[in-house]
């Protein structure tokens, strides 16, 4: 084997080693990117469940304010919910799937209630008031179910 062949062989060896290293680096980069995406997705899902957990508090308070006939405070709470629910629905729509429509339904209930609460004598109209309370109870139940489904999905994916 002359010196020229030796160079050829060593060049080929370096080339193959380079290729192997490049493929390895690419494979690692792809894995790292996938891991980063999965981590980002997990954080996103955690954010979604946190946001819906934060909605449960004011929604529960709203029920109690209605039962206690505290019209003005209930009106403030409804306005808060009407600002938060569409924002969270839009932000986390891809996690929500069919639940996004449920949230739209809740927005409709709260929107109607906001209008009703603006009438000073709303709570004096027994039938209308009781129907509104029933609708809010149902919306709260749906909201808890949406939150529960998000948590269950999070638990499954963390396992």
């Amino acid at each position: 084997m002359n010196l020229h062949d030796l160079f050829d062989w060593s060049n080929s060896g370096v080339g193959v080693a380079g290729l192997v290293l490049t493929v390895g680096a690419l494979w690692q980069a792809t894995g790292a990117k996938k891991a980063a995406e999965e981590a980002r997705e997990a954080v996103w899902q955690r954010d979604a469940s946190d946001s819906f957990s934060e909605l449960e508090g004011p929604a529960g308070e709203l029920v109690q304010l209605l039962q206690f006939e505290r019209r003005n405070e209930a009106a403030v709470r409804v306005r808060d919910l009407l600002a938060q629910i569409p924002r969270d629905r839009a932000r986390f729509e891809r996690f929500l799937a069919g639940d996004a429509d449920k949230l739209k339904g809740m927005e409709t209930v709260f929107q109607k209630l906001a209008v009703q609460l603006s009438a000073p004598d709303f709570m004096e109209r027994k039938d209308e008031f009781e129907a509104a309370m029933g609708a809010v109870f149902e919306a709260n139940r749906d909201l808890s179910a949406v939150y529960g489904r998000l948590l269950s999905r999070l638990d499954r994916e963390e396992k």
Partner: protein
């Protein structure tokens, strides 16, 4: 006495809604107190007072002759669960008591004021004026 008051409030509500008990305004100029005579000199009265923006107190009284036999109140003041626990009773107890008294007040008001029948009658009278 509170349990007995709630039991009586529930009976009064059922009988009022069943049109077996009639209520009257306690005062011709004020429409926040109503009374019902149950016989033998006993008389129930219910009063709702509103204080501030949202604060309401509903009082149910039993009287005999000119004397007050007992008074029971329900209010919507406290909604903080810890504060409620300090006052005795759970938040649910307070909510159900307030709802019962509020429903009784509305039923008494409807009985005394005539409710839909009054509106219908006034409408007829206005139409008769031409």
């Amino acid at each position: 006495m509170s349990d007995k008051a709630e039991e009586w409030a529930q009976q009064l509500l059922n009988k009022t809604e069943g049109k077996k008990l009639e209520w009257f305004p306690a005062d011709e100029t004020e429409f926040d107190t109503f009374r019902a005579d149950i016989g033998d000199g006993f008389l129930f009265s219910i009063q709702r007072s509103t204080n501030g923006i949202d604060n309401k107190v509903i009082s149910l009284q039993l009287r005999k002759g000119g004397s007050i036999v007992f008074t029971e109140k329900a209010d919507n003041f406290v909604i903080n669960s810890r504060a409620v626990a300090g006052m005795g009773g759970t938040p649910d107890d307070r909510v159900s008591k307030f709802r019962l008294f509020s429903d009784l007040f509305r039923a008494a008001q409807k009985s005394a004021m005539g409710g839909d029948q009054t509106i219908e009658r006034v409408q007829q009278l206005l139409e008769r004026l031409g």
